[in-house]
C-alpha cells in the first residue's frame, strides 16, 4: 500500500496532455497535411488493419463485417491497403495509418456490423490530423482583402510635408454652429 494514495485527478492529466507532442490537443487552427486538396485530393489513409479474435463473442460484428463488406470497400478504394489480422484473446480493433505518420485506433469490442462499418468509413474520411476544437471557423490563405490596419492608414497625407505642430491640424472641429458662424452665414439685412 503506497504511503500517498494515488488519486487520478483531472487537472494533471489535462496539463500533461497539453504538453504532449503526439497526444491530443484541445484547440488549434484548421490544418491540412501537405497542401492536400489545393490541386488534387488524395486520400490520406494509407492502410487499415482490422484486428479481431476468431473465437470470442466481442468480435462478432467485426467478423461479420470482414465476411460481408470488406472486399467491396477494398475494391472501391484501391489506394488503401486493408489488412485483416486474427489475434487470439484480444479486443477487436481497427487501426488506421495516415500520410502524416499518425495512427488511429478504434476499439471495436461488442460492436455490431453496422457500427464497425460506420467507423470504418469514418476512418476513410479523416486525414490523420488530431481532432481539435477549432480556434476559428474561418481559415483562409489570404489574411486580409482590404489590407490590414496600420497606424498610418488613416493619417492625413498633408501631415507629411508640414513641420509639426501646425495650426491647421490643431483646430477643433465641431458640427455645432457657433453664434458667430450663424450670424456670418445668415447676414442680417
Amino acid at each position: 500500500m503506497p504511503s500517498v494514495p494515488r488519486v487520478d485527478r483531472l487537472k494533471p492529466i489535462y496539463t500533461a496532455a497539453k504538453a504532449l507532442n503526439f497526444g491530443w490537443r484541445f484547440s488549434d487552427f484548421l490544418k491540412i497535411p501537405a497542401y492536400n486538396g489545393i490541386s488534387r485530393y488524395t486520400n490520406q489513409l494509407h492502410r487499415i488493419t482490422v484486428r479481431f479474435c476468431k473465437q470470442s463473442e466481442s468480435s462478432v460484428g467485426v467478423r461479420n463485417f470482414i465476411e460481408n463488406q470488406i472486399v467491396e470497400i477494398g475494391r472501391k478504394n484501391p489506394s488503401v491497403v486493408i489488412y485483416a489480422q486474427p489475434v487470439r484473446n484480444s479486443n477487436p480493433s481497427i487501426r488506421a495509418e495516415y500520410g502524416n505518420g499518425r495512427t488511429l485506433q478504434i476499439n471495436a469490442k461488442n460492436m455490431t456490423e453496422t457500427e464497425v462499418s460506420k467507423d470504418f468509413h469514418l476512418l476513410f474520411s479523416r486525414s490523420g490530423e488530431p481532432v481539435v476544437k477549432l480556434e476559428s471557423r474561418q481559415s483562409a490563405l489570404c489574411p486580409s482583402v482590404q489590407g490590414q490596419w496600420t497606424p498610418i492608414t488613416w493619417l492625413p497625407t498633408a501631415m507629411n510635408t508640414e513641420s509639426l505642430p501646425a495650426k491647421q491640424f490643431s483646430e477643433h472641429k465641431s458640427t455645432a454652429t457657433s453664434a458667430t458662424e450663424y450670424i456670418l452665414q445668415n447676414q442680417p439685412k
Binding site: 497542401y35 489506394s79 491497403v81 495509418e97 500520410g99 495512427t103 485506433q105 498610418i152 507629411n160
Partner: protein, 345 residues
C-alpha cells in the same frame, strides 16, 4: 505503434493508385523505389531467406532514374512558373525551382504519399535525400503527361506559402530596380520618406516610398531604420514590377492542366543581361544570421547622455505624491508646518 504487417505487393498496388498512375507495372515501381544502398544491406548481401522487403523482386537501383526524373520535374515546374510569372527574370524562376524541388520539400511530399514505407534502402530511418531521390525516380518512370500532373498536384501547391522576396533576395534591390525602370523609360527614381515617428527612440518607424519621375509610387514599405525601409520598398517595387502581388491568381488542378505549358519552354529574360554591367545582381548570403535591427544599446546611451541631461526623469520617478515627510523623529506637527505646493507637489 507500428503495423508490422506489410504485404509489399499490395502496398505497391495501393501506392500506384494513390499517386495516380496504376497502369505502370510493379517492376518499374520497384526499380524506382530501390536505393543504391539496398544491395549493401547485410541481409540482402548474404541473400538471407525472406529479407524484407525481398531482394528477389528487383535487382536494379534508381540512380539513373533519379537524374532523369529530376530533370523532368524541373522542366515542367519551370514551364508552370514561366506561365504565371511571365515578367519575372529567369534567375527568379531558377531560384523558385531549386527551392521547391530541394530535398526537404520533396521528402515531405514523399512522406505524405507513403513512399517512406516502400523505399528499399539500407538506412533506417530513411534519410531525407533518399526519400527525395525516390520521388525523383518516380518522375523518371512516369510518362510526360503524368510528370506534369505530378508537378501540378504535389509541387505547385507549395507556392501559396512561399514569399518570393525571401526566395530571391537580391543584395542591392534599389540598383536593380533603377536599371529596370530606366530600361522602361523612367528618368528619375528616388526614395522618399513618407512618415516617420520616434526617430530618437528605441522603437523608430520610417515609411519610405520609391517614386518614378516624381509622379508614380512604384513601391512602399515601412522599416525600423531608413536603410531598411528603402531596401524593403525596393523589393516591393521589384515584385510589383514582375506582377508578383498578393492578388495574383495561381492555377491549380484542372485549370492548370488545361493550360498549354509546353509553349513556355523558352527561358525568360536574364536579369544580369538586362541590367547595367556594374549593377550587383547577386543574392544575399542567408546562411549567416544577420544582426538584429534594433538599436537598444544606442538608445540607452542616447537616453542617458542626451535626453536625461535635458528633460530629466519622468514625473512618476520624480514625484512622490504619497510623500512621506520623514521619519517619526523628523516629522513636525502639521499645525506648525502648513503644507505648501513646493513641499508636497
Amino acid at each position: 505503434m507500428g503495423n508490422w504487417l506489410s504485404d509489399y505487393n499490395s502496398e505497391l498496388y495501393a501506392f500506384g493508385h494513390r499517386i495516380g498512375a496504376p497502369e505502370i507495372s510493379e517492376n518499374e515501381y520497384v526499380k524506382a523505389l530501390t536505393n543504391e544502398s539496398f544491395f549493401e544491406r547485410a541481409d540482402v548481401e548474404e541473400q538471407v531467406e525472406r529479407a524484407q522487403p525481398g531482394a528477389e523482386i528487383g535487382t536494379e537501383h534508381n540512380g539513373e532514374l533519379v537524374r532523369k526524373g529530376e530533370e523532368r520535374l524541373s522542366i515542367w515546374l519551370k514551364r508552370y512558373l514561366r506561365f504565371h510569372l511571365a515578367k519575372a527574370p529567369e534567375e527568379l524562376i531558377d531560384s523558385v525551382d531549386s527551392h521547391l524541388l530541394n530535398d526537404e520539400c520533396l521528402a515531405g511530399i514523399a512522406g505524405h504519399l507513403g513512399i517512406d514505407h516502400l523505399v528499399r534502402t539500407k538506412e533506417f530511418p530513411i534519410s531525407q535525400q533518399s526519400s527525395a531521390d525516390a520521388f525523383r525516380a518516380l518522375a523518371g518512370i512516369f510518362s510526360d503527361e503524368k510528370v506534369k500532373n505530378l508537378v501540378i498536384d504535389f509541387i505547385v501547391p507549395q507556392l501559396v506559402d512561399i514569399d518570393f522576396a525571401d526566395i530571391y533576395p537580391l543584395a542591392d534591390p534599389l540598383a536593380v530596380l533603377t536599371d529596370l525602370l530606366k530600361a522602361e523609360g523612367v528618368t528619375e527614381i528616388e526614395p522618399r520618406l513618407l512618415r516617420s515617428a520616434g526617430e530618437n527612440s528605441a522603437e523608430p518607424i520610417f515609411v519610405v516610398a520609391i517614386y518614378a519621375d516624381k509622379q508614380k509610387n512604384v513601391g512602399q514599405s515601412a522599416g525600423e531604420s531608413v536603410t531598411i525601409a528603402i531596401d524593403m520598398a525596393a523589393r516591393e517595387a521589384l515584385l510589383r514590377l514582375w506582377n508578383i502581388t498578393s492578388d495574383r491568381v495561381l492555377f491549380f488542378g484542372d485549370r492548370a492542366a488545361s493550360v498549354p505549358l509546353e509553349k513556355y519552354s523558352e527561358p525568360n529574360y536574364s536579369l544580369t543581361k538586362k541590367c547595367a554591367p556594374g549593377t550587383n545582381t547577386s543574392l544575399l548570403d542567408e546562411s549567416q544570421p544577420t544582426e538584429s535591427p534594433d538599436n537598444l544599446i544606442e538608445a540607452v546611451l542616447r537616453y542617458r547622455n542626451i535626453v536625461d541631461a535635458e528633460v530629466g526623469k519622468s514625473y512618476t520617478k520624480r514625484l512622490r505624491h504619497k510623500f512621506s515627510r520623514g521619519s517619526l523623529a523628523k516629522r513636525s506637527f502639521r499645525y506648525l508646518v502648513k503644507p505648501k505646493p513646493y513641499t508636497v507637489a
